[in-house]
Symmetry: none
């Protein structure tokens, strides 16, 4: 369908994305997925809920770029102008589709809620478009092919957009693209920062223009993506394997996943394989460690439970921590981290227990700087503690503490 | 200088901003500064280092918007195309300015470094532009007035951009704008979906084009923003108050915050005010409820702790839930939610305890559909339970369960 360079533009719609507090983060995820298909993003636009501006922007994008992805503005309110604006840009009608209306009504019925009249607006589609099912919301997506160009209309909420794109857009897009074989490897890495990682592996990947190497960083979680584009799958696979093997040698057991799984899934996989169980005792993370572990479906196979002990009194009452120990060392100390892990393991009869106690900020605690954290790890053989120090705001410190605790146990189980 | 509505578009230039790992965050800061001057941002564009694409984008922006701010691409390399592209869009020449060249040379001299020949490229300016000094880098900014429109070219690095904008652009901009004052109100709302809320309040806000009303939605958290632009502050304030009062009447105690605070902060504020405390007992949320509550700095004033009881055995062991009760009703049931809340309250001696038990999916549990959740709330007076049903994936169901539990207690405390 698409001849020439398969470039894309992403148009994010929503007046909230033009305020000082909101960024269009969907486009990062979409860019990553597009790159994996060999499509480059050549421009991004962010437009408010303004039909004429949006129509003009899409019209103009259509003159220069063959793939246009519009996200957001598919809701049921007057503010949601995407369908109308794109129809205007493509000079097409919009039409009521009874099948879409029935799907939306069915969704409300399953929620035991009446369907508001306003939601019928979401059953209007651009003439000639294919509707893309949305199991996670009321707005269907739309896929339009028009004179060698493709326009996709996708909902703004990431939990609606992402499955719609992977389940319904990627195969269609692949079929529309000139034949090119792509092979990829994705490593997820813990326990090393972005700059250190880059210094370590760039001497390898800088030698190659194919595969392209991208390093993506979030606090505590660095990803390395390799992508080769070749005339044959075999050739592309051989290239990424060649570079991937060198990267693996350099990063060693800091790599926790090769299939995109998050750290908690990698840890859970190891525990399930061994038939072992885990519990937690959390102070400064307040539930985040348990939340991360149980974000994986099926985590009840290995996660038993835990204790949120936010005050000294509760540490004593729930985990049996000696009050003199707390008084002598304070709650943020190695002896308390050890006692928390041991107490949680004993009370839940789990194979392992992880504990976290620290100062997440914003204020320093009793002369101890913000970011000072002690982790504990109890098993049948031993109870150990680690002192770590993180830099950043409250959210970042808590997140890094939870990640570091999970990665500690993961590496232990790998040995 | 500028007649009519002083709207702005921001154009960020740089191929790195089109990768999966980098966002244009300068635009948030610029938007905030512009809003304070009464200027609305009506569009944002992100373009790679591509002269023709950039020239076309700026040309097109100039036809619809009177203020254009271009950031990035002012460096000395071939990749830095902003000066040339904007000159092309404005149909102006670029010219060598000896005074700019001297300033750049002077900067290198102060750093005791030789000035590279390539840096002379930064002494070329668009004909008729005013140069904006850059004390933190070699790239001067440019300010261009053109037939009732303003175009600013600013460097990309935030430490160069920000002082240049505040020191050299804001006063010029203020002088060019019609006098305008802004007043805003922000409501955050729980317990009502976006469509229902919009159906309820749109008959009010649709009567007004000033203030502008924006409804922002995330699962379980809807925000309503009102913003008035008037010739005087008094008038703007009166307008937002007039509309705000009507919205407040319609939404009642579903409004939990008027200052941007999240739900957990609003709940925490009420507990602190009353000198009361809270604990939690979580099953399907696995720590998320505690995590949300403790994401607020200072939450140790009212949060005591909690129990993550992910299996029946642990519910019995940690919270003293009767095994026969679990066997008879299953873990996802009203009696178990009641017993979890009562058990947590008793063991932590807190004023209130919230409990959550449910099926977060992806699989149905024992004939009960995914999304079925029971919440419990224990106080000195009573122990109550609520049955709720959510639709969505695991993450959404867990998030809605935590939000609904917190909002239940918040509304109880409001009475």
């Amino acid at each position: 369908l698409i001849a020439g360079t398969p470039d894309a533009e992403i148009v994010a719609v929503g007046s909230e994305l033009l305020t000082p507090s909101r960024l269009d983060t969907n486009s990062l995820w979409i860019t990553d997925r597009l790159n994996l298909l060999g499509v480059e993003v050549v421009g991004k636009l962010i437009i408010g809920d303004d039909r004429n501006r949006l129509a003009a922007a899409v019209s103009s994008a259509l003159t220069r770029t063959p793939i246009i992805i519009v996200t957001g503005g598919l809701g049921p309110t007057e503010d949601d102008v995407t369908r109308d604006a794109v129809a205007q840009a493509l000079k097409r009608r919009i039409e009521f589709r009874q099948d879409l209306c029935d799907q939306i009504a069915d969704r409300f019925a399953r929620m035991n809620r009446p369907m508001a009249e306003i939601n019928k607006r979401q059953a209007w589609a651009i003439a000639g478009s294919a509707a893309l099912p949305n199991p996670n919301g009321t707005a269907p997506g739309l896929w339009i092919e028009d004179a060698g160009r493709i326009v996709m209309l996708l909902p703004g909420p990431p939990r609606e957009l992402k499955p719609m794109f992977t389940d319904h857009c990627e195969a269609r897009l692949r079929a529309a693209l000139p034949e090119l074989h792509i092979a990829t490897v994705q490593f997820r890495v813990a326990g090393i920062g972005e700059s250190d990682l880059d210094a370590l592996i760039s001497p390898v990947y800088m030698q190659y223009t194919n595969p392209v190497t991208t390093v993506l960083a979030a606090p505590g979680d660095v990803q390395v993506h390799l992508r080769a584009r070749c005339a044959s799958q075999q050739e592309a696979r051989a290239l990424v394997n060649e570079v991937g093997a060198q990267v693996e040698t350099l990063l060693g057991d800091r790599i926790y996943s090769r299939n995109g799984d998050p750290l908690e899934a990698a840890l859970g996989h190891l525990l399930r394989e061994r038939g072992e169980t885990l519990s937690v005792a959390e102070s400064c993370t307040g539930g985040l460690l348990g939340e991360r572990i149980t974000s994986v479906a099926g985590s009840s196979d290995y996660f038993r439970g835990g204790f949120l002990t936010y005050t000294n009194e509760i540490k004593a009452a729930l985990l049996g921590i000696d009050r003199d120990l707390l008084a002598k060392h304070t709650a943020v100390s190695e002896p308390v981290a050890l006692a928390m892990a041991a107490g949680a393991r004993e009370r839940t009869k789990s194979t392992y227990a992880l504990s976290v106690t620290g100062y997440a900020g914003p204020d320093d605690g009793q002369g101890v700087p913000v970011g000072q954290v002690f982790l504990g790890l109890a098993s049948a053989q031993s109870v150990q503690a680690r002192e770590v120090r993180f830099i950043g705001d409250r959210e970042r410190i808590r997140s890094l503490a939870a990640i570091t605790a999970m990665d500690w146990l993961r590496r232990r189980l790998m040995r």
